[in-house]
């Protein structure tokens, strides 16, 4: 026998499918919705429906968009000669917030992982190579995560476009601003030394 009324049980079940939401959290959120104002719940339901109905990948860069092409790809003021390759669409938001980059993007859909058997065919690397050939790209900035899989992806991309004469760069890595040198690990500190700059 169910503990709560069927619609409440259903809501708990659906919520517990979400990442990082266990049964207890799902129950707490469900009761928050039950107790809350109706327009808040309807707003949430409408937002969920809208995102599933209207959002799709940009046909050029695979960022999320409502149109055929995303806002960044359509913006003629951006530097079309530079493509920044990122793992996921949410990485674009982080880079945009820096205000340092004015080129285009390419969402790879993850990172290459020889350790887990994730192969280049599982990512959108072939599509990136096609873009470079077709759009006269001069530079690819590989902004994958600075870890084993992200760096394997960067190495693979560099290898794939080697003969196309395009410049491939990766983001610098080193010490985080505001951190203490004492706590830096050997690999990070080693890279910070290798990439030191003149003042």
């Amino acid at each position: 026998m169910a503990t709560y009324a069927r619609p409440v049980e259903r809501l708990i079940t659906e919520l517990s499918r979400l990442p990082s939401i266990g049964p207890k959290s799902a129950q707490r959120i469900a009761f928050h919705v039950v107790r809350g104002r109706p327009e808040e719940a309807y707003g949430l339901a409408e937002a969920l429906k809208e995102v599933k109905d209207r959002i799709r990948p940009c046909k050029r860069c695979f960022n999320l968009t409502e149109e055929e092409e995303c806002e960044i790809c359509r913006d003629s003021r951006r530097d079309a000669a530079v493509i920044c390759a990122v793992e996921d669409p949410y990485d674009i938001g982080s880079i945009e917030r820096t205000g340092e980059y004015r080129g285009l993007y390419h969402v790879l859909g993850g990172s290459l992982s020889p350790l887990d058997g994730i192969e280049p065919e599982d990512l959108r690397i072939a599509e990136l190579v096609e873009r470079v050939k077709g759009e006269g790209t001069e530079e690819i900035v590989v902004a994958t995560n600075p870890n084993t899989t992200g760096e394997a992806t960067a190495m693979y991309i560099a290898q794939e476009v080697q003969e196309l004469g395009v410049r491939v760069t990766v983001l610098a890595s080193g010490l985080p601003v505001g951190g203490d040198l004492e706590y830096a690990d050997e690999v990070t500190l080693g890279r910070a030394f290798a990439g030191r700059r003149q003042l």
Partner: protein, 248 residues
């Protein structure tokens, strides 16, 4: 909750929750351990790059019901030379998948830890012949796990393979070689190019550091090792590729 300390090699690292990672480590004292490293994905995490896959670390953790929790980690050897080269990384990837597949129980085996450490060290120091190291590692690992391939006599008729003329076949399910007369014993048997048997024997008997096969034999040695482990490993499903799910 018991706090413990051991040397360990990070085999796998999976994103978990907001900023955590779940790690599979092969430890010197306790064998395979799964542990969570909380907050590791934050740029200001105290773990930094210490727990990247393939790193050999001195790890301190406390045991939990299903997952242990890492509290401290110090790098003993980062093996970043392996991570920063695609050929080496591919060979290491196959090696760590084989360790995961052949480590079914909770028992630790220091020989497995030492073999993995030495093999990663060899990969890092080498400029070529990565597949030979990978094949030698796989054969030695299978032997330590009790699944040594039979390379001396035909698995079906028992005839000695010494001085055998003609093609030989490898039968993964039977765990060894079939002579040309017995090749029909199993449909999975595949032919070995001339010289492969000698190459496999040299990989089994020699140290990993000296594992060198001719380039033309490396691929068939890898195929033998891969098929052999897949046929015998208790956790062989972990060797199969992940379902291809592409995020939007």
């Amino acid at each position: 909750m018991a706090l413990y300390k051991s040397k360990g090699i990070v085999l796998r690292s999976i994103r978990y929750g907001e900023a955590d990672r779940i790690l599979d480590l092969y430890t010197h004292d306790y064998g395979m351990v799964s542990a969570i490293a909380k907050g590791i994905r934050r740029t200001r995490s105290r773990f930094g790059a210490r727990l990247e896959p393939l790193s050999c670390v001195d790890v301190m953790a406390y045991s939990g019901r299903s997952l242990d929790t890492v509290t401290q980690a110090e790098v003993l050897r980062s093996f970043h030379g392996v991570r920063e080269h695609l050929g080496r990384l591919e060979a290491a990837g196959s090696m760590v998948r084989n360790v995961r597949a052949l480590s079914g129980g909770d028992e630790g085996d220091r020989r497995v830890f030492n073999l993995l450490y030495r093999s990663l060290e060899t990969l890092e120091e080498r400029g070529a012949g990565f597949k030979s190291v990978e094949a030698a590692f796989g054969l030695k690992l299978a032997t330590l796990a009790g699944y040594a391939p039979e390379l001396e006599a035909c698995m079906s008729c028992g005839a000695s393979l010494e001085g055998t003329e003609g093609l030989l076949y490898y039968a993964p399910v039977l765990g060894g070689i079939l002579c040309a007369d017995c090749r029909a014993e199993t449909a999975e048997a595949f032919p070995l190019p001339p010289g492969t048997l000698f190459g496999l024997r040299s990989l089994v008997s020699g140290p990993v550091k000296q594992a060198v096969l001719e380039e033309r034999l490396e691929e068939s040695a890898r195929r033998v090792v891969g098929a052999h482990i897949l046929a015998h490993a208790p956790a062989a499903t972990s060797l199969e590729p992940r379902p291809r799910v592409r995020p939007a």
